[in-house]
């Protein structure tokens, strides 16, 4: 994971109106923002719009924006809010009815995972259920925890849930993953093909 050595210094320069610092922040974090945005929106143009709006808002408010040591978390949390308002506007939903993205893309490569050889219809049903249970929010929490390396506290803050809720959500997601992972390779591949559009 990329860590900005003088992140708070960079942020401070930016809040003082330093355009170079602003550009540096963009260059450093746009990759992470793109990936996270794509996982929710799945549309490059929409992601571009949201990141654009986020950075314009940042620049407009650079004098009043709060101090942060964790620019990465701040930006991802801000992007998430930007995306939610963007989607709410698009779906004509009031914002409070749309606290969380309904879908989150996280494609696991089942082939490379170790799968056991046992075969059964019952197992395929279990996988099916597991995949259904692996909701967008569960995939999101796995992404934030293992790829963005966020703490439960940060995840709770970001996803508007309690810290306890974040632990629970993560534990259930890991359970569901275990089931998928242990399923037959062929079944998983079949599942991946058939459910990709909805689930993964």
């Amino acid at each position: 994971m990329k860590r900005q050595g003088n992140a708070s210094g960079l942020w401070l320069s930016f809040t003082k109106g330093d355009r170079d610092a602003f550009t540096a922040i963009y260059n450093t974090y746009v990759g992470a923002l793109y990936e996270y945005g794509m996982r929710i929106l799945k549309d490059e143009n929409q992601v571009g719009d949201c990141i654009h709006d986020l950075f314009i808002k940042l620049w407009l408010n650079h004098k009043t924006v709060r101090k942060t040591d964790n620019i990465r978390f701040y930006l991802i949390a801000s992007l998430r809010n930007t995306i939610l308002s963007y989607k709410a506007k698009e779906d004509r939903l009031p914002k409070e009815e749309f606290h969380n993205p309904d879908d989150f893309v996280l494609d696991f490569n089942a082939e490379s995972a170790q799968v056991n050889k046992e075969e059964s219809v019952a197992q395929s049903r279990r996988i099916n259920d597991a995949l259904d249970q692996l909701t967008g929010r569960q995939k999101e929490i796995i992404y934030l925890k293992y790829f963005e390396e966020m703490s439960y506290e940060q995840i709770a803050d970001l996803m508007n849930i309690s810290v306890k809720g974040a632990y629970k959500l993560s534990a259930r997601a890991l359970d569901a993953l275990k089931i998928i992972m242990n399923a037959d390779k062929a079944v998983v591949i079949w599942m991946l093909i058939h459910y990709k559009s909805q689930i993964f």
Partner: protein, 337 residues
């Protein structure tokens, strides 16, 4: 790292342990050495393996890489928007500045205009007299039913200019020290309906009511111009300039103490007709007096009548004319006995 703490770990504990996660994801040499050693001494190998397997599975998740063109295009777009915002801000700040300064200038202009044109007005009612001290120290005694108006910024403008309706006695302060060079600020101007009067420092009585406009000089010199007939004179003391509806401005000899006797509340008469006294009574007290016999109007009177109150005037006149005073709500009648 302490290997002991991991001995009691469940799969879930391992999955939440940042050190373990880092090892599975990145697996650098030091981490691998530690965890390989751990694997050989571990009691909860099953939990460890399960966690490792699940994490490995998690890390098979496909990453989404950003195309380089997306990064550069978006940056260009953002920079453009930021520039635009900044321009808009500057423009609106400039616009705000120019609008507010224009408003300030307009307010200043209006204020100066108002101050330049603003006047002080002093009015007397019927039967009332007032003494007004002007900003230059000149004194104006204002007779009843009269008014003067002078500029508020008299001192700043150095323009001594009084407009008069009715009658007033002026004691003008002399400011000019050099008779050859008379500055504008030295002049004292009085305008009535019909007369334009210019003085430097004198005492005079001006009256402009009804059929008659007149100025009589006590001391000094006065330039008087009739705005009606266009006639112009320089008055000497004890002269009076008089214009009536019948006659253009002319100079007559007049005792100034007679002309401004009203200042002390008197009316001096030298063969003055009753009708003229009644006219003055109407001017000062606002009441018309009707004579039961028109011949009474032509009666001439000498001497001094106190004009301090209307009652006194009527009482004296009634005695001279041998008449009774009859009053109702609208008229006063001098009824011959």
């Amino acid at each position: 790292m302490q290997a002991e703490k991991y001995q009691s770990f469940t799969t879930e504990d391992f999955l939440n342990d940042p050190e373990f996660i880092r090892f599975v994801r990145e697996g650098d040499a030091e981490d691998t050495r530690f965890w390989t050693a751990y694997e050989n001494s571990v009691v909860n190998l099953e939990a460890y393996r399960a966690a490792q397997k699940e994490l490995k599975f998690i890390f098979t998740a496909k990453r989404i890489a950003m195309p380089a063109s997306f990064e550069t295009d978006l940056l260009a777009r953002i920079e453009q928007s930021v520039d635009q915002q900044q321009r808009k801000k500057t423009v609106s700040r400039r616009l705000y500045l120019s609008i507010s300064s224009a408003a300030a200038i307009l307010a200043f202009v209006l204020l100066s205009f108002w101050l330049n044109t603003a006047n002080v007005t002093v009015i007397t009612r019927y039967g009332e007299k007032k003494s007004v001290t002007l900003p230059d120290g000149s004194i104006v005694m204002l007779n009843a039913n009269s008014s003067i108006k002078y500029p508020l910024l008299w001192r700043i403008n150095h323009r001594r200019h009084v407009e008069l309706k009715g009658e007033a006695y002026f004691k003008v302060v002399h400011l000019n020290n050099d008779p050859i060079n008379v500055a504008d600020k030295d002049r004292f101007l009085v305008n009535t309906n019909r007369l334009h009067i210019e003085v430097l420092g004198t005492e005079f009585d001006v009256k402009d009511r009804n059929q008659t406009a007149k100025i009589s000089l006590t001391k000094g010199r006065v330039s008087v111009l009739s705005l009606v007939s266009g006639k112009h004179y320089i008055l000497q003391p004890k002269q009076m300039a008089l214009e009536t509806t019948e006659e253009a401005l002319k100079i007559v000899q007049a005792d100034p103490s007679v002309e401004h006797a009203w200042v002390d509340g008197n009316r001096k008469m030298q063969k003055t007709k009753v009708k003229d006294i009644l006219q003055e009574f109407a001017d000062v007290y606002g009441r018309r007096v009707v004579l039961s016999d028109p011949a009474m109007a032509e009666v001439q009177i000498d001497g001094t009548i106190s004009f301090k109150s209307g009652e006194t005037v009527l009482f004296v006149l009634a005695n001279i004319l041998n008449a009774n005073v009859k009053k109702d709500s609208t008229t006063i009648i001098l009824q011959a006995k």
